[in-house]
Subunit: 405 residues, 2 copies
Amino acid sequence: MRIVQKYGGTSVGSLDRIRKTADIVEAAMKAGNEITVVVSAMSGETNRLISMAREMDESACPRELDALVATGEQVTAALLSIELQSRGVAAYSFTGAQAGFLTSSQHSRARICNIDGHRLIGHMEKGEVPVVAGFQGVDEDGNITTLGRGGSDTSAVALAIALEADCCEIYTDVDGVYTTDPRIVSAASKIERISYEEMLEFASLGAKVLQTRSVELAMRFGMPIHLRSSFEMVDGTFVTEEDKTMERAAITGVAYNRDEAKVTIQGIPDHPGIAANVFGPVADAGINVDVIVQNVSEQGHTDITFTVPRADYASTMALLKESCDKMQARNVLGDNTVAKVSIIGVGMRSHAGVAKEMFDVLAKENINIQMITTSEIKITVVVDENHVDQAVRSLHDAFGLSQSE
Amino acid sequence: MRIVQKYGGTSVGSLDRIRKTADIVEAAMKAGNEITVVVSAMSGETNRLISMAREMDESACPRELDALVATGEQVTAALLSIELQSRGVAAYSFTGAQAGFLTSSQHSRARICNIDGHRLIGHMEKGEVPVVAGFQGVDEDGNITTLGRGGSDTSAVALAIALEADCCEIYTDVDGVYTTDPRIVSAASKIERISYEEMLEFASLGAKVLQTRSVELAMRFGMPIHLRSSFEMVDGTFVTEEDKTMERAAITGVAYNRDEAKVTIQGIPDHPGIAANVFGPVADAGINVDVIVQNVSEQGHTDITFTVPRADYASTMALLKESCDKMQARNVLGDNTVAKVSIIGVGMRSHAGVAKEMFDVLAKENINIQMITTSEIKITVVVDENHVDQAVRSLHDAFGLSQSE
């Protein structure tokens, strides 16, 4: 098998962790695989570099921040190569530029344009292990760029695609995706296999195991991701294309997000263009609106309710109160003690009555549902934040996810 | 003027020192110069990186050490660029590779093959300041290399030549070359102007102000070096071609080196090939022989005396005692309490009797001369290490170098 292995900051957070990582690489080589490794900076290193830059200039230029921060991954790549060589594994470190990552020129949030993988393939074919500094590349003019938020997993997946690898293994400090948060439901179990679509829904709910951008990329090219722990050598969760041959449970997991606030605009005239009036200023302020519900019209007026991240609650309320008159709205109400609970699963496409069952479960628990939205593979309700644990537990049980071991 | 400024590790050893360095760069820009900056790693950073590598593997591979260590200068270059930008000076950091340094492939001791300066010149012509990571480059295959011992000054001088600069300013923590060590002679004075040849003789005597390799390069291309302090804005020492129009003092300075040991091989047969017999094994052991004196032959036998660095004394003695029989020598004697004292100056070419005067001065001080060697611009004597201070002081006075201020 040809495998791209990616190790995050905690997996290379100390010289001792780098040795443990080398154990894994070495074992994979000895098992007869072709391996390319992608590494993050040692945990804490990126922050150390950025804080030096900020001390010089709070608004330091992104080009220079990229050149500065890119050294973090370069250091890890060299150290891991040294460790591998000391065990007789022929390893070579590469910066993003050397590994062939060509990106756009938007510093600190560059997009990968192309990867010329011929050099790395040459090494792998000779039984050597390229160790690549993740998260970085160069633009057409040779300037060092970084990929920004979600970039290190993305660089691994992109490289796996360019190298025509069989799998991209993402090593982190958790051992997979769980049916729900084990801190809430102790009977939560690791999901063996999950579809890209489901993984995206989990990620969008704040289950921060895999960066959304990398999952989208893997989905587009059908690259299997094996999400697993570098601290324990057990299988993690495979993120792959939906397996249509398998009989599936109705839902795959229960997710939640407490970082929510709800805003309601009451009594605005119900005519075309009101949504634009409401959401224009919010979007202009860079606030990410999530669930939106518009009630049916009564006597030519309607109510609109939506959620925003809790950190944006105050500024959203201020914005809307300001434009209340312009919107001809009666009132603006808010609540920053709400949370989202979702059930996710490609199985719900073929199982009828999943939504009804969800509402029944919550009703039996006496949990009031404030908002509902649905997608093809997800049903989300907004509830009082005090009801989250209870809602998650009861749904996890009711849909048969709790294991009796 | 077009100037390449090079700042050593202590000149960029902290964020505060980087700010001071930015002061100097900014002032030089405002004075209407075109500036390219070359920086070292922050003092201590290179050692920090190397010790991590050594902890992984004592004999870490040079290719990976180069990739690791090169990040040190990259960090400084980015931080200095950020500081310059915060003052409104358009600055751009470059790695060695980005700046166009093509080197040989000998990792950790690469030689500069070519510098493509067009990108840096383009920036300078737009009034921008390139800030280049010194000490590094890439080989033909794009592998990161470092220049090894003497490399950071050398990269600055080489860049100055490639950019057709008017001068290469080397900023360090001393403010120039002195007529002798001020710790021994308080009346020692800063030399305003010194020839490349004299500078090389000073450097070879252990006066570690400018790296020999960089002086040799500057001499070959006639690039003036201004050696000066980043801690105090006064003129330092200009290292330039010999100024033949000026009347010169007989000597320019007095140098010494206590790191010496003397070895004498007594009574070896005086026939062709004996020198090879003696120095073959010593050279094979990588020991650097310095002053060599062979006495006239007596009854077909002769004595050979030479000096080695004190650290190599024990192994040299062991080697020679071992081969004493093979050399048909009578005896091998040694002394590791000797030192060299030299007077240096292009002026001695045109002043007769300089050697005689040196010997007179030492005789008057009752200092026994154990060995003598001369070059065109230097006379060196080997004396007991306890006489070094007295010898340096008396020579500095006798040749009129002590200032009465």
